[in-house]
Amino acid sequence: MSLIIKHCRSNGITSSFNLRIWRLNSTSMDVAAKKGEEEEEFRVLDILKKRDKVQKKVARRNDVQPDRADRMAVDQNWGNVWPGPKTFHPSSVPLPIRQGYVPKGQAPPGKKANAELMKIPNFLHLTPPVVKAQCEAIKQYCTEWPKLLNSEEAIEKHYPVEVITSDYCHASPSIRNPLARIVTLRVKLATLNLDKHARDKFLRLVGDRYDEKTDLVTITADRCPARKQNLDYVDYLLTACYHESLNVEEWEKDKTEDDMEYYDWDKNASKKSLVQWYLRMKNENVDLKDEQFIEYDISQIPNAESYKNAVSSLMNDGENESTVNNYAKEVRALLGLPEKLVV
């Protein structure tokens, strides 16, 4: 069974550059012979003491022609001799091939009657000249590549949505494979141009379908029986998520600090403490409200900006050596303490 995975940019551009073919293992089961259970048979008493029959000499047919490999011209077109995939045959291949395991010091068996050579798939039908000739032959059905799509970036820019499907080839009465219905859609989140709120909502909607490292949202659909339906369904899912994330519902205003998906320093107690500490340093006793704290401009506080970043990264990225060290450094800078001494 072979499998062709079609990888295409949505909006109708089918790119053959991402076409991959895998040949899967044949589905036949390997039945392992159980060695331990082999029963030993009783010996048979040979009364007549029959001699082993002498094998009759098989007369060789005298009209078998020599290998056609011997008659081949050195400048022949190999593509004519081996036009398609087929099992290795020694009499048609004019190469002194050897294959097979042998004890050390011996030459591997030659090409004649060599099952090892027949087992492995050969690519004698896909020699470089043949590939070239075939490419030339089907060029008449190829359209020109759009000029402006000359780089990966340009393609990503103009065709941000990727659709991945798989095709299967069988040797069976049916040409259908249920796995061919599965459709995967991938899109870079950045290309959706969402604002902060919409992005947050979108991520909450797609859940673990978003990969932070690559910034890709991957939506896979296999619930419908036909590929077309699944394709429509992934389109629908993307559209629905996008528009839903742009909506702002009434209840979204009830979002509290606990519901935040990330640590916003401006809204947290840390800023409040900093501002209060700063004001007290200046001996200004101002009673500020929560909103005022949030809007307070910290640029006048020395080292506050980097302190803010250090705290944010500590909270957002989690505790690790670098964030903690960074935090320690920034706190020292803020409070005017000396640099950490190397003891």
Binding site: N80, I138, Q140, K147, I175
Partner: protein, 717 residues
């Protein structure tokens, strides 16, 4: 290599038409394959589902070392003789037939789903998806079947003639079927096939190998058959019905009734089609006797066409020429044909391959004068972009033209031009079937052997033999002759192995021809080729013995007695083998074997070159092979050749190492020389006296080495 010209079904024309439409729609539309804005994909270049496959297939050329791809690519399974080619291909097809038989016989096994519990299945289900009708079991109709007009429609569509007749009868015959259109299409089917089930299109090999089933030119139309009945029962006789029946009758040579019906239709003012007149033109020969009357009728029919306002087409031209070529030869007819051709040319109708075929038949008679119309025909065909087969007789063109190149014109350049035309594009399908192909190559190889340069000949033979064409014995003889003239000893030895492989090594005449060819060009060869020739000669002798033993073992199978090699051939073998310098050479075994055969009169006739044997005796004596020398001389003496006595003297001179005169004087006293001789050389002496007196002087039971040899060999047998 298969002929793709299949025209027995009416609907094939229709599908052909559909295909051409789709190709117009698919391929030829002008369009830009460029993207409009540099970003959006350009419009797809439309293509049919098989276009890519065809483009890929066009990259694969012919491989002269390989057999046709229908055979297994294995030295043991590649057929090398015509008999094997046929047997292997037909055996493979017999397997397919057996499978089809099981499918039809046990149709119920092919409609079950594997995972359905027995008895639970509600509707027939096919595992295959999509269902391919050609692979599904065929419905069987018998007297109990419940049939509808739908079934009849379906069977007519698939051209299943027997089934449709059965359904028609089940439906109640002429009265039962009420739908006039259905009746008409059934009538068309019956008329096209003359109520005879056609050969299935499924069996390609059978069609390819079917021995040339020549169309019977006889009135085969079934009078009062089902077609006639249906036509009579039609209340309203439409033009289509008339056209169908007239064409059917004319096609199957019921000329008079077709002609009558045609005149009747014209009287009633029923419009007729061009193809009606085309078929009528094709069977004028059955209507009238005598050339003058026939020509008159032909002209009448053409005039009638003009009256009715029917424009002639290519088929009209073909059927005119077909009729004319069937009426014999002669200046009148040839002139008539030329007139018709030029008139059609004026109308802008180009003759097709069939028309040219009939022209060749008319002009190039076997014993007639040489008329070179072929070169003009070839120029015309070469200038055409593509040869499109239209009629089944189109396949006769190439074989006939090659036959004319070979027999009538004896022109190799013309043959090469014709062959180049056949090899162009996919014109090879016009070669017809296996029978026609082999005749085509027979003519081609013959003319090449006679008139082509030696390089071209060998190149041609290397590419054609044996995978494309296996030479028949007559062609093989031609080839051997050519090789002899060119003095190609190496190729002559190959010719022997080819004879064995092609299964014609038991043709004595051919083998004798080959041996004499080897002999005549032996002395000009280099030493290693001489060795090869010697080996081949001894092989020939061995092969003859083998086949003889075979014949003895299964005597019952042999229909005719095995022909033996002539004494001449065996002398040739001996001559070839005796050219060795070494005493222990295995060639001496062959020589003694050959001599035994000669002596036991296992060979027909007597040698025409006894000097060979005399020389052999001398040479053998000088090598110390006294037995062989004695046998040769004895044979010569027994046969009464004059050479026997001088040869014996010479041989004795060699044995005794004395001059001839001395030996001759010694021979006067028999006892003297007997004493001087080695016992094994006494046989030479016998031969001498036998040649002198004409009778053996001593008992033949003497213990000479040669006699003991012959005894042991006769024991073996």
């Amino acid at each position: 290599m298969y002929s793709n010209i299949i025209l027995p079904k009416q609907w094939s024309r229709f599908t052909c038409f559909c295909r051409s439409l789709s190709s117009i729609e698919g391929q030829k539309l002008p369009q830009s394959s460029k993207s409009s804005d540099g970003i959006s994909p350009p419009p797809r270049i439309p293509r049919s589902p098989t276009d890519i496959l065809q483009a890929l297939a066009a990259t694969v050329g012919a491989d002269p070392t390989a057999a046709h791809y229908k055979y297994h690519d294995d030295p043991y399974l590649i057929p090398l003789s015509n008999f094997r080619k046929r047997a292997y291909a037909l055996s493979a097809e017999a397997g397919r037939k057996a499978a089809a038989w099981i499918r039809d016989e046990h149709a119920e096994w092919f409609t079950t789903r594997e995972w359905d519990p027995p008895g639970k299945m509600k509707t027939p289900y096919f595992n295959a998806d999509p269902i391919i009708d050609a692979f599904a079991p065929r419905p069987i109709y018998n007297d109990e079947s419940k049939v509808t007009e739908e079934d009849l429609k379906k069977t007519i569509e698939h051209a299943l003639l027997d089934d449709s007749i059965k359904i028609f009868q089940l439906l109640g015959g002429v009265e039962g079927v009420t739908d006039n259109n259905l009746k008409l299409s059934f009538l068309q089917l019956l008329c096209f096939y003359n109520e005879k089930e056609p050969d299935s299109l499924e069996w390609l090999e059978e069609r390819w190998f079917s021995a040339n089933t020549k169309d019977r030119h006889a009135a085969t139309w079934k009078l009062g058959g089902l077609a006639d009945k249906i036509f009579a029962s039609l209340e309203q006789k439409t033009p289509e019905a008339y056209c169908t029946v007239i064409q059917g009758m004319a096609k199957h040579y019921q000329a008079e009734r077709a002609y009558m019906l045609c005149q009747e239709a014209i009287e009633h003012g029923i419009p007729l089609s061009t193809s009606v007149f085309n078929t009528l033109l094709g069977c004028i020969g059955f209507l009238k006797e005598g050339t003058a009357l026939r020509i008159e009728t032909l002209k009448q029919l053409l005039a009638q066409m003009e009256e009715l306002g029917l424009s002639p087409n290519e088929e009209t031209l073909t059927s005119c020429l077909r009729s004319i070529s069937a009426w014999g030869g002669g200046k009148v007819l040839q002139k008539m044909a030329q007139q018709i051709l030029s008139e059609f040319r004026q109308l802008g109708i180009q003759p097709g391959l069939s028309a040219y075929y009939y022209l060749l038949c008319l002009f190039c008679k076997e014993r007639g004068p040489r008329i070179d119309i072929l070169s003009n025909i070839l120029t015309d065909l070469e200038n055409r972009e593509k040869l499109i087969p239209k009629e089944t007789t189109d396949t006769n063109f190439f074989i006939t033209a090659m036959g004319i190149c070979s027999d009538h014109l004896q022109d190799i350049d013309m043959a090469e031009r014709l062959h180049a035309l056949l090899m162009k594009d996919d014109n090879y399908k016009l070669v017809g079937d296996a029978y026609k192909e082999s005749i085509y190559y027979r003519h081609f190889v013959t003319v090449a052997c006679r008139h082509a340069s030696f390089e071209r000949k060998t190149q041609l033979l290397d590419t054609l033999v044996p995978n494309v064409y296996v030479p028949e014995p007559s062609v093989m003889e031609e080839i051997i002759k050519t090789l002899e003239v060119a003095g190609a000893g190496d190729r002559l030895t190959q010719a022997w192995s080819q004879l064995v492989i092609f299964g014609i090594a038991n043709r004595t005449r051919l083998v004798e021809r080959l041996l004499s060819a080897m002999c005549s060009c032996y002395e000009f060869q280099t030493n290693d080729i001489k060795v090869k020739i010697r080996d081949a000669a001894s092989e020939i002798l061995k092969f003859g013995k083998l086949t003889e033993e075979d014949g003895k073992n299964n005597n019952n199978d042999r229909r005719s007695p095995q022909k033996r090699l002539s004494a001449d051939a065996i002398t040739n073998i001996i001559e070839l083998c005796s050219d060795v310098k070494d005493k222990s050479d295995p060639a001496w075994d062959t020589i003694s074997e050959g001599l035994q055969r000669l002596k036991q009169t296992e060979a027909t006739g007597v040698p025409t070159k006894p000097q060979v044997l005399a020389d052999l005796a001398q040479k053998a004596a000088s090598m110390g092979k006294l037995g062989i020398a004695a046998t040769a001389l004895q044979y010569l003496a027994e046969c009464g050749f004059e050479e026997a006595s001088p040869a014996s003297v010479d041989t004795l001179a060699v044995i005794l190492n004395r001059p001839q005169q001395e030996v001759e004087t010694m021979l006067q006293q028999r006892s003297d020389i007997e004493r001087a001789l080695h016992p094994s050389a006494l046989a030479v002496l016998d031969a001498y006296y036998m040649a002198k007196t004409g009778a053996p002087t001593r008992d033949s039971g003497s213990s000479t080495s040669s006699d003991s040899d012959s005894e042991s060999s006769s024991d073996d047998e």
